[in-house]
Symmetry: C2
Subunit: 395 residues, 2 copies
Amino acid sequence: MSALQILHRDPGSLARAGVLRTAHGDVRTPAFVPLATKATVKGLEPREVAALGYDIVLGNTFHLFLEPGADLIERFGGLHDFMGWQQPIVTDSGGFQVFSMGYGTVADEVKGRAPSGPNRMGRVLSIEEDGVRFRSYIDGSEQFIGPETSMQVQAKLGSDLALVFDECTPFNIDRDYTARSTERTHRWLDRCLAWHDAQGPAGQLVYGIVQGGVHEDLRVESAQAVAARPVDGIAIGGSLGADKAQMYEVVGWAISGIDEARPRHLLGIGDIDDLIRGVELGVDTFDCAMPTRLGRHGVAIVPDPANRWRVDLTAARHRESHEPIMDGCPCPACGGGHSRGYLRYLVKNRELTGARLLTLHNLAYVARLMAGLRAAIAGGTLAAYAAAQRAGAAP
Amino acid sequence: MSALQILHRDPGSLARAGVLRTAHGDVRTPAFVPLATKATVKGLEPREVAALGYDIVLGNTFHLFLEPGADLIERFGGLHDFMGWQQPIVTDSGGFQVFSMGYGTVADEVKGRAPSGPNRMGRVLSIEEDGVRFRSYIDGSEQFIGPETSMQVQAKLGSDLALVFDECTPFNIDRDYTARSTERTHRWLDRCLAWHDAQGPAGQLVYGIVQGGVHEDLRVESAQAVAARPVDGIAIGGSLGADKAQMYEVVGWAISGIDEARPRHLLGIGDIDDLIRGVELGVDTFDCAMPTRLGRHGVAIVPDPANRWRVDLTAARHRESHEPIMDGCPCPACGGGHSRGYLRYLVKNRELTGARLLTLHNLAYVARLMAGLRAAIAGGTLAAYAAAQRAGAAP
């Protein structure tokens, strides 16, 4: 039986709304998953994340593996108890982070960020069939992650939803390498499933990962190959292309190879327009650093499509602004009466309160958008809701 | 009429409890005043500070004068509106910060901190009868603060309670210099009062500052000289000695020169034992960076007199600890079920959530202590309450 109960379907797109059942409760879908990379949504308490309307967060296997280590978290009763969040948790596999080191720029490319240096997360020593050997960015120690390690770490973390260990190829890799890499990702998928079958925690869902770069045949084949395995859900990973048009095309190819019943997760995507389009393409869950990371750096999400739904509060023009980030927004920053001028001052002066208020605002915005999308699908008004959002309506 | 209404007196000490009336409401005394140095209690929203039980915060004239500037804050309607805190605000005069630059180590000495370099807040160019000329730590620009500047800035900030501009002498300055400096502080007091009389905002209370170093005669003379002026209250500043015994002696001398009716503020003191003793000595309000700064650096306040009421959660021994900071504490860290092990992990990894949870815990502890002291004075049980606190009772 699928972990996803589909309750509503949009007649005009592939969008669906429902409930994803996990060991720690239900996730209303489509859903955005805030990052709790290092066992915390940066700056927020778990109760605040729940109060914003989120049902699930994402913990980072790679970072938690290195510090404080999966064994320690296991001795605390798992990641839920360690971080004090008793709702669902998804853990990524660590593949993305490990291969970001190897290729140097894959993270930047996939995420559309400025390059931040090849050694930000450590240094790869070898990539072999067995897995990846690398140096820790924390203490320089030699470390290894392979399919079984990743599943074992995720078992110790006790997440509700584990992602299999995949090779995440960057955009600038050629078709042949991508094809061979995708094959390896499928072999690693089998090893992950074998380990999980034998030793995985009861009740932990496992998602396979579709790779295949920007090649239609590879993406469709990969999706079909993953969907042919007994995975509880399917995540779409890797490079999704050079621009949004290509990204939507790639996501469409991947989903075309997945059966209807299987829950689908889109990895690392969270721009407002991408969330809307992703839902229309049939994505059930999304995770992304964007709302929280932008917030910490002084960028707020606003209903302004012409500016990518963003306003940079560090800009000098906000210095004297008495306006809130967004009229009518109930978040602690806007509802609390804080002006753009004050928030700009806080952010420019690196005050924790500024990072926090903007994080709260951004997550509140995305939470309302996802709730709006769910309600629109249920009410048969998705086309109108999406059009209004794209025209700059408040979520 | 005194701004302080004394409602209860402790028969066994000089302690009193009451209400300090200000333009933005009442402050229950004795009270601790959390620092909102740069228009924010670091990491917290105003509503959270109020929810912890605090009636008043302290804004820093020196820092706000440099950035974002008093004119900008005035255009936002004053500091209350700028930072979204509609309860009482006290602003310091900037004297402490300015003279900390000049003497290099006065801040460290007075606060008992490790030296942090002479130029942390800028560089003094000249100290003259008119005031102090210095270079801004923000942009290197030449700046000037004197008695009138300080009062003017505090008028623009619109605080409920302004402190006069004083010369803050360090511990290692000789008696003669201290005597001459104290005289200058009194001349500056007159200039501050003259400016405030002519141009100060209606309803803004003005506190004079007692100096005189660690010399009994100078302290008593200074207290009498300040109390002879039409000040609304009196703050005790400057070096309070080499150890706690001397500090209590110096505070006692100062208070002996102040009339009963006048509210008394003790500047920059906030250790748990000092708060208890200060209340017994007749202090009405205290401000200190300690609870918030320690929290941001991973040190929590606990009922452990043998360890100065502190536990350093960054210590390795807390790595596996499942215990809360403090049993029965209702703060978000303890009441939220967070273990010392998790908090240690957050703090070691410089996660905002760690700084925030420890700030909340420490401020919650001090708020309960002050509420306990007020209730004990009102109930005639201060001696027993203070003895229990000194023996390690929960506040």
